[in-house]
């Protein structure tokens, strides 16, 4: 696999990340400007109606797992995450390297999740309650539980980043293995199956699982 080099020469995973960022930003800015200009009294039509339906369905789905006030704060972040991951995991269909097959990009998601959980804690629960959570319910067990809880603070985001990375990497490794064994005429037919399973199916499931785990972790960190 390729190394994580940011500048010269740019790693192919970072290049496709930047391409996805640029395309999605332009797309969302255009759609957002169009939706702002809409007349609230009329029923929207066509493409914009589809966009509004998607966002509405997403809101309804997430509020089942998250409180309303937390959703107000984190909804935009969660929607950005799912859209970027769904695009990034299926990007190899058009020939770019999937960004998450690079450990550097996957660990960036670790850092983002870590800070998201920390921000949620600072915003929604008091410091006293957080210290209580870290020490555990039973006070005389605190010397044992405190280190374990501290590890848990770091290991949850780390697990989520690594899960994204290894899932994508296993797909890339298996596809590369099959392509290197087969002649290219057979490779076309095998590719049909391989990319349908590893890119579309597993990629979308991983994006969804990352969204759900982020939601549940934020809810758990702020509830208790």
């Amino acid at each position: 696999m390729n190394d994580f080099t940011l500048f010269d020469p740019m790693s192919s995973a970072v290049r496709s990340t930047l391409i996805i960022f640029a395309v999605l930003s332009i797309f969302f800015i255009i759609v957002g400007r169009k939706i702002k200009k809409l007349d609230p009294k009329k029923t929207p039509k066509g493409f914009l109606f589809g966009c509004i339906m998607i966002v509405d369905g997403f809101n309804k789905f997430i509020t089942e797992y998250m409180d309303k006030d937390k959703f107000q704060f984190f909804g935009a972040y969660l929607f950005t995450i799912i859209v970027f991951l769904a695009t990034a995991n299926t990007i190899s269909l058009i020939g770019l390297t999937p960004p998450l097959s690079n450990l550097g990009v996957a660990l960036a998601f670790t850092v983002m999740t870590f800070f998201a959980i920390k921000i949620a804690e600072f915003k929604f629960i008091s410091v006293k309650k957080k210290v209580n959570n870290l020490l555990g319910e039973v006070k005389f067990m605190a010397p044992i539980l405190f280190p374990i809880n501290l590890i848990g603070e770091v290991s949850t985001p780390f697990t989520m980043g690594l899960r994204l990375f290894v899932n994508l990497l296993s797909g890339v490794v298996i596809a590369t293995m099959v392509y290197s064994v087969l002649h290219w005429t057979l490779g076309i037919f095998a590719g049909l199956f391989l990319h349908a399973v590893f890119d579309i199916f597993f990629g979308l499931i991983q994006a969804f699982v990352f969204l759900m785990l982020t939601t549940i972790n934020i809810s758990l960190a702020t509830d208790a």
């Binding site: 290894v166 899932n167 785990l213």
Partner: protein, 89 residues
Amino acid sequence: MFETVFSTMFRFAEVTNAGLAWLGAGFAVIAGLGTGIGQGYAAGKAAEAVGRQPDAQGKILVTTLVTQAVAETTGLYGLLVALILIGKS
């Protein structure tokens, strides 16, 4: 008879660092066993739950996907260790 078998075996299969790394990679992937059991158990229980309550299928599906992803983690660590070991050789 055994002497000839062992002598031929050890003449051709010499123990090297790379070979041990490949062997370790093979052992690391045994972690997939536990992942298989865990995911199968989650899927079986989900099927049971859908059979008992067909109306709640959507919510059960979401819960199953998340729990299976959590059970998958240890197997993925095994795969990661195997990949690192292959890279060593």
